[in-house]
Symmetry: D2
Subunit: 270 residues, 4 copies
């Protein structure tokens, strides 16, 4: 069974932080209120769970499962879509998490390329992604592109990718280079989503045709970015630009510190 | 005497190639027809001479003077503005070229940072630029920003820069990072110009508020990019995006080869 | 209980490949003969298991345990020392593997720094290493230094490190920069070992005072490198240099290919 | 006329600083006493003039000529060899300086690769070097290898290089990678010199077979490094290592600051 075609991922997606206790344990109890906060305070109703913002790479497979499960359970009826990032350095671990995401009824999975032994070519990476997707064939599949981490040309990667990954539905594109983005969007199929991941230059990406955005700042300035998107869509570029520049100038303290202080941040957010 | 305030640099500026003969000598005779070609075939009436596209870094000071002089002489009455890039590794050489640019009545000078011994801070670079500008105080001064070459934070550099360089009039900004661009534009004074230098993502830069563009592709696709800019200005983003993506997909052969084959290219252009 | 002081790690240590079957499963049955081969054919009697050569970063925690266990079991009475690399991106996983290494009576553990979220300072890394070491306090602890991966200054890291990691016994130093190596050796305590990890320039490292070497090439040219070390120790630099240059010139095919073809290589070795 | 074969360049070569006045002008008057100081206080009797240490890249062609001339004139009868670095970004400038070096009877020239438009291959660089050498065919020619600046594989470059550059006599090798060094030394012809340029790991390079060293620290610790070399040559590695480690630990202040304060340093040296 192929993924449903009617849930194209667009608009704002918050890359969620991972709440932890002061003892360094994951704190599932915060997730429920976190979801309410995103919906009510930020107007954000899509989440990207266990990604880079969520520091999943520093978590064990078991911890990632517990988190994904809680996000899916608590988001039911509140969030439109929960995308679970399942990428690990190990293919087996990644497949295990993909399979688990299907079991807990996530709305999609995303996968970053292995970063320690980087894929030596687009073909090698495509094969890796294919083996992951085959562990959850009914879930929409998104490639999480961060070239600084993996170095594979994304345009080459997606050429004909649906032949090997029928569930392929798009890209989380985290790169400042908008030429690559333009090429991806240009090649993109109608049911794909190209979501931009460099929050600070979202406006440029929208001009190039990005379908939405995934980012950590949407946890706390999502309501403003929703206005930016609206302004852009109604052709009010001056207003859109004013918001974008304002967001660039925000103190970045919370962002920069987030890696070691989720719990604190999550608490302060809610 | 301060530079005239009424010639704000906007729109398309072609970063010109340097014509050379098959014996490797600069070929001044091509410059006249080159100017006619740009004006008539591309609708481009501003040039950025002796920049990276012009491979000035591989030319001697004397060669650069001869080129700059011919461009200024032949452009008279045909081009709106001739900006001469004068940056060298040596401060003395740079000052000599800046002074020469004033003598030949260029419309402005641009300066890249030294790239062998890179400036260790924004202050060090600001002092370098100031010493160059003082050699041609009546000419509008543009900082040529290529962070991959020099690594100084541009936003920090331009903070209060008119106090030390009264002739400062803007930036040629060659970086894919649009956040930095947004910050520069946001800080930019009304009589400054922020000109974008990554041709492949110009549309994103326009969305962020760039005032114009300097690039090598405008030598041969300037007429199309003029349409892109018009479409953008009338709010037709779909059309603008179509042109941008088309330009990205152009065979890049002529660009990639240009470094060692100017004469050939210049001939084929005209 | 502190680690025994009488087993200072010196000489050649083979960084072992991980045998896998053609189906991509780990192949424990090869490890016994592999050990015999190293001992008899190469004269190598120390191994570094589950390191970069062993591609442990692409394996699951469970696979790494099975491998480490088999190496320790089969090496008993044959190898002098089995060092198990336990570094993972996740601290918990790393601690679990460290604890497991103690249970299976490994002779030491080694830990690389997390490479996805790189440690922001020597202090942050020292704390990470300390938490790992505390999970196996009786095992000699080696820091696996690969600056290209982690970027922390090693000399700063080891300053006073025994105060926080009493079991600290040395460094696997994989960097071409011999100045850093010299500083580490100079600071090194008598019961520490600084083992060099860039096989191609071992002779330079020996001149600087390295106590031994850990590397993948010692799997197949260990017998020659043992002669290089002997020549160096008897002051015959001309002979040592001849061997080193010969080793540099070896076809690197087997090395470059190893990442995706362990099984094949391991079979061909034995 | 080919270069004389009887002056193989070995031992210590000081990469000289460029004395400047407090007004930023080159200060030729310091060069005479500088030479006496090197000879008498440091036991150094070979110099590498107008190199990176001498900041020649920030000087004009005219300034470099004046400096080279003064060094050659004052060194006569005092220094064994004066090697003049003539590399510039411009081929014409480089040829002019090479020709000038022959006129002033320098003992050799050295050339770094252009660093702004880096050579795209070993062939391109070889052609550049050949054109430079042809402007001074009677002078021993040394390639100044700094891969971080130019990125061309040196072993490939020197393959058969004497066929195109009959005056080729060796390499100033400034790279920490001793494998590359070993390959160069191994290929090196008997009348070539491979001189090492990373002062902090000279001992490792000597072990690999380097014939000498060119560096900035030999301006002020040449006398100690002469002892290091003697110890190495008599097989006393412990003593050699002790000196090497001591030199690594020296305060680097003077080195780090030298770029902007030659005059001060030169004064303090003498």
């Amino acid at each position: 069974m192929a993924p449903a075609a009617d849930k194209k991922l667009t608009g704002l997606v918050a890359a969620t932080f991972t709440p932890i206790t002061s003892e360094g344990e994951i704190n599932l109890s915060v997730i429920g209120p976190y979801i309410d906060y995103l919906k009510e305070k930020q107007g954000v109703n899509k989440v990207f769970v266990n990604g880079t913002t969520g520091e999943s790479m520093s978590l064990s497979v078991e911890e990632r499962k517990l988190l994904a499960e809680e996000w899916c359970r608590k988001a039911k009826g509140k969030m439109d879509q929960v995308i679970v990032h399942v990428g690990c350095l190990s293919l087996k671990d990644t497949q295990e998490l993909a399979h688990h995401a299907a079991q807990i009824e996530a709305d999609g999975i995303a996968v970053i390329a292995p970063s320690f032994f980087k894929p030596s070519s687009a073909d090698v990476l495509r094969t890796f992604l294919q083996e992951v997707a085959s562990a959850a064939p009914t879930l929409p599949f998104y490639y999480y592109h961060v070239p600084s981490v993996t170095g594979v040309n994304v345009r080459e990667l997606i050429e004909g990718i649906e032949k090997v990954i029928p569930s392929f539905r798009g890209i989380k594109f985290t790169e400042s280079d908008l030429m690559d983005l333009g090429q991806c969007i240009s090649y993109s199929q109608p049911h794909w989503s190209v979501l931009y991941g460099v929050d600070e230059q979202l406006l440029g990406a929208l001009a190039m045709g990005a379908h939405g955005a995934v980012g950590s700042t949407y946890n706390y300035v999502g309501c403003h970015v929703n206005k930016l998107i609206s302004a852009f869509e109604t052709g009010d570029l001056v207003q859109a630009r004013t918001i974008q520049v304002l967001l660039i100038s925000l103190p970045l303290l919370c962002v920069l510190d987030h890696l070691y202080h989720f719990a604190h941040i999550c608490t302060s957010l809610i």
